[in-house]
């Protein structure tokens, strides 16, 4: 009997009532208040919070703040859900007023890529409405971080759309630029909520892709027919190394556009590497092969998640059109190719392919190791020979130094002996009561002589 009592949660009548003791029942979702008292409590808090946000927008709130907010917003969920899905948070399509025009002008004046300037403009009092919309949207998104990721993506895209409508008077370039800022602002904040979201199997797919790439570590550029320099110097290393670094860097960026910039950078490096071994401009076949090679070599962390993130939360414009869109498409192609890679696409027979795949599992690891060891040995050899050369150089320099020191000593000896001679001569002259003029000339002579041997003979070494 008593075990039942212990297991169940027991609450007294008192505890169920509103904390404000207004007589109504409270709700844990409203921190023990009834709906009415809760609303009254929250409203001033909300206003305060928004003020705080205006001041420190970029600083991420602490965890306890999030907890508090989560709890507060749970109660408002149903209503806001309805609002979000049945009406979009788009502004009333009114005629732009003077103040609105001023805001638009302020945004128009910004230099391309001036994100700080954008933030400043956004925080200025005239664009307060825009800013509060951003803040409200961010708060809502954070509160609903448990929604399925596709829904979140839809919400974010709708938000972009409503923002784009607001700036619809801009020229295309200005609009793109402003929207990029908006994206950066929103997604930098939302990244941790929506990246690799629990509601989808991104994490698993990341692992699968990572394992797949690792199992293909025996693929050589020749198999992919990537134009590759034949003579590979050990010290120069892989010409695609900058591209590999760039693609790995993608995971560290937060905003989708920054991730896209990494993809573009990687692609530019690929083209540069290709141009070194090919005089003609690279075509799509060369480029894709090289990109496949780069992805295989780099095994970028969380590649699938990163790409999904860009697709879901990036601006549709930069993803669909333009150069970055092209590069991203190629990256998608490279990943699709790697996922479906088989013997014929590497000019191997299925048996050979199987052999490679199986061999790497047990003894092939040795193969890879041997390759690495070989490379390392080459490097070591080169380094040793460099070291020897350096040693020889040091020895030669030592010998030179010694001869120089000896020469200097000899010259000093000579100079001292000459000095003694001159001094003797002078004292002779003095003692034999000579004229002052001749003694003068002797002194001058002495000075000239010492001058001659004063500086070390630099030319010797």
């Amino acid at each position: 009997m008593w075990t039942d009592k212990q297991r169940g949660i027991r609450l007294s009548q008192q505890e169920l009532l509103c904390k404000n003791s207004c007589g109504y029942y409270g709700n844990p979702a409203w921190q023990g208040f009834c709906s009415k008292c809760w609303r009254e409590r929250v409203r001033p808090a909300e206003a305060r919070r928004q003020d705080n946000r205006a001041g420190a927008d970029s600083t991420p709130p602490t965890f306890s703040k999030f907890e508090e907010k989560k709890n507060m917003e749970k109660g408002r969920r149903i209503n806001t859900m309805r609002r979000l899905f049945w009406g979009s948070p788009s502004p009333p399509k009114a005629e732009p007023s003077d103040s609105q025009m001023n805001v638009l002008k302020a945004f128009q004046k910004l230099e391309p890529g001036d994100f700080t300037g954008f933030l400043k403009t956004l925080r200025s009092p005239s664009s307060q409405r825009l800013q509060s919309r951003c803040t409200a949207f961010l708060n809502t998104m954070e509160a609903y971080h448990a929604l399925p990721v596709q829904k979140q993506s839809d919400l974010v895209q709708d938000f972009y759309q409503s923002f784009a409508d607001y700036f619809s008077r801009f020229s295309e370039a200005e609009l793109t630029q402003t929207m990029e800022h908006v994206e950066k602002l929103i997604m930098t904040r939302l990244h941790k909520w929506v990246f690799c979201h629990d509601s989808c199997d991104d994490e698993q797919k990341d692992l699968i892709l990572q394992r797949r790439i690792r199992s293909l570590n025996w693929v050589t550029p020749q198999m992919l027919s990537v134009p590759f320099p034949d003579v590979q110097s050990a010290v120069m290393g892989d010409p695609f190394l900058p591209a590999i670094t760039a693609i790995i860097e993608m995971d560290a960026k937060r905003a989708p556009q920054d991730k896209l910039v990494c993809v573009s950078k990687c692609s530019q490096h690929v083209f540069e590497a290709l141009s070194a071994s090919n005089s003609e401009p690279a075509n799509a076949d060369d480029f894709l092969s090289a990109l496949v090679y780069v992805v295989l070599k780099a095994n970028p962390p969380r590649l699938h998640s990163n790409m999904q993130y860009v697709i879901r939360f990036g601006l549709p414009h930069s993803l669909m059109a333009g150069e970055s869109g092209y590069y991203f498409t190629n990256l998608s192609c490279a990943v699709a190719f790697i996922e479906k890679l088989d013997g014929p696409s590497l000019n191997l027979s299925p048996e050979e392919f199987e052999g490679y795949m199986r061999r790497r599992r047990t003894p092939a690891a040795v193969d890879g190791l041997r390759e690495v060891a070989c490379e390392t040995r080459h490097l070591l050899d080169e380094l040793t020979s460099r070291q020897e050369r350096l040693d020889r150089g040091v020895d030669a320099l030592n010998v030179q130094l010694q001869t120089w020191v000896q020469a200097v000593h000899a010259q000093i000896d000579q100079a001292t002996s000459e000095l003694v001679l001159v001094q003797e001569e002078v004292t002779d002259l003095c003692s034999s009561s000579s004229s002052p003029s001749s003694s003068d000339s002797a002194v001058i002579e002495q000075v000239v002589l010492t001058d001659q041997y004063a500086g070390p003979p630099d030319t010797d070494c």
């Binding site: 709906s35 809760w38 609303r39 929250v42 409203r43 909300e46 206003a47 928004q50 109660g75 408002r76 209503n79 806001t80 609002r83 979000l84 899905f85 049945w86 009406g87 948070p89 788009s90 009333p92 399509k93 409405r129 509060s132 919309r133 409200a136 949207f137 708060n139 809502t140 839809d154 895209q157 709708d158 972009y160 759309q161 784009a164 530019q268 083209f271 290709l274 141009s275 003609e280 401009p281 690279a282 075509n283 799509a284 076949d285 480029f287 894709l288 092969s289 549709p316 414009h317 669909m320 059109a321 150069e323 092209y326 590069y327 498409t329 192609c333 699709a336 190719f337 014929p344 696409s345």
Partner: protein
């Protein structure tokens, strides 16, 4: 991205280049965008993504030409490339019957995946090598007509027919974009609709959510 062609705004088109490995896709697009052929002074690092700005009947057109990997092993990747494209240029080598067969496969695939939304151009390249011709013009033209595509004959080497090909394609894509716009009634604000599965259209203007969406219990 669909053509953003509302009002006085410019058109943006994505055109994919499809074709087998050695049919001269790269030469063709380099000739068109840089007017160069086998030139040592080509400064561009790459010929896989090129853009061209045009002015057609007073409308500005931004053309983005996407080269696609044409090797057989990359064949399955086609759909990733030509998604959301407004036009496709399918190139074959008139001396190579196989490359024409490949074009036929592409056409089938494109029509299956994109329906009639895409403007197709079938291009017989290398007409300077007419003496080695293996694909007859009549056959190619009748095939093009049968699938609702247009046929062109070009030579990247002699710079013949290429300018006309792209100009014609642009005009067709503009027409298609305008028809689409008209059928939509209102062409504005569709830039995000390209890939969104469900688009929620609000028919009554909502109050700005400033505080609004955060204050109800």
């Amino acid at each position: 991205m669909a053509a953003a062609g509302g009002g006085g705004k410019s058109f943006s088109f994505k055109v994919v280049l499809l074709g087998e490995g050695c049919v001269g896709k790269t030469s063709m697009v380099l000739r068109y965008c840089e007017n160069k052929f086998n030139d040592k002074h080509i400064t561009t690092l790459q010929a896989s993504f090129l853009t061209k700005k045009l002015n057609i009947t007073g409308k500005r057109v931004n053309l983005a030409i996407w080269d696609t990997a044409g090797q057989e092993r990359f064949h399955a990747l086609g759909p990733i490339y030509y998604r959301d494209s407004n036009g496709a240029v399918l190139v074959y080598d008139i001396t190579d019957e196989d490359s024409f067969q490949k074009v036929k496969n592409w056409v089938k695939e494109l029509r299956k995946m994109l329906g009639n939304d895409i403007c197709l151009c079938i291009v017989g390249n290398k007409i300077d090598l007419d003496k080695d011709r293996n694909v007859s013009t009549e056959e190619a033209e009748s095939y093009a007509a049968s699938v609702g595509a247009k046929h062109y004959r070009t030579s990247a080497k002699l710079n013949s027919g290429i300018e006309e090909l792209f100009l014609d394609l642009c005009k067709r894509m503009m027409e298609a974009a305008q028809v689409e716009e008209r059928s939509k009634g209102n062409g504005g604000g569709q830039s995000a609709s390209g890939r969104r599965g469900v688009q929620i259209v609000d028919d009554e203007p909502q109050a700005p959510p400033t505080g609004g969406c955060c204050s109800s219990g």
